[in-house]
Subunit: 388 residues, 2 copies
Amino acid sequence: MILSTITKTGDGVAANAWSLSAQDVAEIALGATLLGAGGGGDPYLSQLAVRHCLQSGQSVEVIAPEDLADDACIACLAGFGAPTVEAEKMQSSAAMVYALRAYESRFGRRIDALIAAEMGGGNAIVPLLAAAETGLPVIDGDGMGRAFPELQMTSYHLNGVSATPFVLADDHLNVVTCELGAGAPEKMAEAFARSATIEMGMQAYIVCYLMTGAQAKRAVLAHTLTLSRVVGRAIAAARSDGDPVRRLVHLLNNAMQSQAAIHLFDGKVTDLWRSTEKGFAKGWCQLEDLKGSGATARAQFQNEYLLFSIDGVSRAMTPDLICLLDRETLQPIPTPDVRYGQRLAVLGIACHAQFRNAAALQVVGPQAFGFDEVYQPLQQLAPGSGSR
Amino acid sequence: MILSTITKTGDGVAANAWSLSAQDVAEIALGATLLGAGGGGDPYLSQLAVRHCLQSGQSVEVIAPEDLADDACIACLAGFGAPTVEAEKMQSSAAMVYALRAYESRFGRRIDALIAAEMGGGNAIVPLLAAAETGLPVIDGDGMGRAFPELQMTSYHLNGVSATPFVLADDHLNVVTCELGAGAPEKMAEAFARSATIEMGMQAYIVCYLMTGAQAKRAVLAHTLTLSRVVGRAIAAARSDGDPVRRLVHLLNNAMQSQAAIHLFDGKVTDLWRSTEKGFAKGWCQLEDLKGSGATARAQFQNEYLLFSIDGVSRAMTPDLICLLDRETLQPIPTPDVRYGQRLAVLGIACHAQFRNAAALQVVGPQAFGFDEVYQPLQQLAPGSGSR
């Protein structure tokens, strides 16, 4: 039994371990689509695949990071590329497992447990699917508490864990590995992964950020799989309300404690530009105020929504979460799915506190994406907050 | 003693083995610069490094491919990228050796001997330098008998040896590896290697085409290191002649038997365009007839000279060799070194017979580089050959 070797208690049943139900998976997928802030890929097919595994008698054990044995060996598994191509290139659990096995054989390490790179969209589900296929447990946590587009944009990196060595595999079972030389910046790992993924047709699976249990306790944003499930439940519960957006914001603020959610805008999509370039889905969408005030809002994205402004005034910035939802169904809208005419609510959600210091903002702040804006927290950008 | 395990005789002294002298290295470097047909990189610094090793007491043993034991393990080692950047990024024997060791550790194979990917320019010397540093012997042969720009353009590939798994390493000791999935085209290996090399600053070392001695006997173009030395000696001998170009053509035709050399043109460089794009040095140069006939010639290149025409009529095409030399010194001019005002002789040299069948021409013929021309052998393109 693997659990007995990687949890502190050693009795095979970790204090906070739980076994995923099919409903858990559906709720996590829904919640992670919101937390993905437009990115992370569409979880629809991969969550169906996990639920199919569970119905076939396979199981997925979830372990809290604080219960890990210090010498357990944890690796990230994630889809990598541009979510735009998912309509053409479906998730491949064979490629996920192939990447894991290639990692183990090429670098001589046995992986004890999987963790998500990002708790966003399909990438919240990818480790669950590989876990169902392999019997490996999954850690309740991730490296972003949301989705970001680049490999180095993680709490793992900010806490000194390298993304390399990494293994990339695609659905043709082509495998590319990378090890950085001493002193090479982590952004080189992103560059190697991105260029190989472009050759792989924009979609690959990456095994990276190998860490010990001791490192994971420092570097992991804990309990974000649970948070996804809570958010998914909140969305489902708010749907039946007469004012679903307001109800959802209320539930999120109850559930997330420090991570305040703010309802920023209601608009109809009136213009849209997108381009798949350098392995990313880049672009922006424009929304006009549904109440007829004439106000115009814009959300700029690179896989994820990164900057949201109303009449040219910034109202939310990465690393805070910018989430676009259908106003009626509360379905979160990933960036590849924004369409002309959609009537959307825009929510801002404060990012994890780890990402708000100067060192983190160099990696995930607006300027890391080439924007001129200097990061200001969501709450300070609100009209009447007194700080502007 | 490594030789005893990889040669058929098993006595440590193969029938056709020889030990490189410093003069051999200089002659090989000069000959391979001609055979490089404009590509393969500048051998100047790497041949100095090999000669320094020899003067320091290291040695390089050369083995004829026919003397290999069938189970010997041979690998290609080559510089990879665009030769344009060599002025800024010097050869790194540490990176070469690092790539070899990474190959052995990641893929669990011990490499017994090295061979060149191409007998062109610096890539004729790279295996010699790594051999001097490691004590490994070098095979007298290569996979092109010239230089070509892409990884799959080899007799190895045409004889069923895959370029993958490969290892790329750069001078910062970043390492990227690649294994293709079953059925993936070899051009995918080129695509992965090229994109990683671009991230490495356009220059890396590749270890690839692992093969057994038995495979090498089929797939290697034999004795081309010796041929390079012969060509280098011919250039040196012809320099002192009153009509050096004519003398060189005479010596080459004596030395190369089936590979006829033709003196195609004498011209002054009057126009030049170059661009470093997608990891290649692409462009063309234009020459005006030195005799004042008004004839204008053009050589198009992608790392190597690939197509040569006079007044719009093709006179030499890849895979035949197109070689530009200084008319006075007979110094072969690699594509990065062509300059306005140079007075050059243009030679055509018939390629190895292996490259003239239909299957080979799909890999190395004009259309493999996007030209419309259908390959015609050098001799048939000569005016008055009767076949045009």
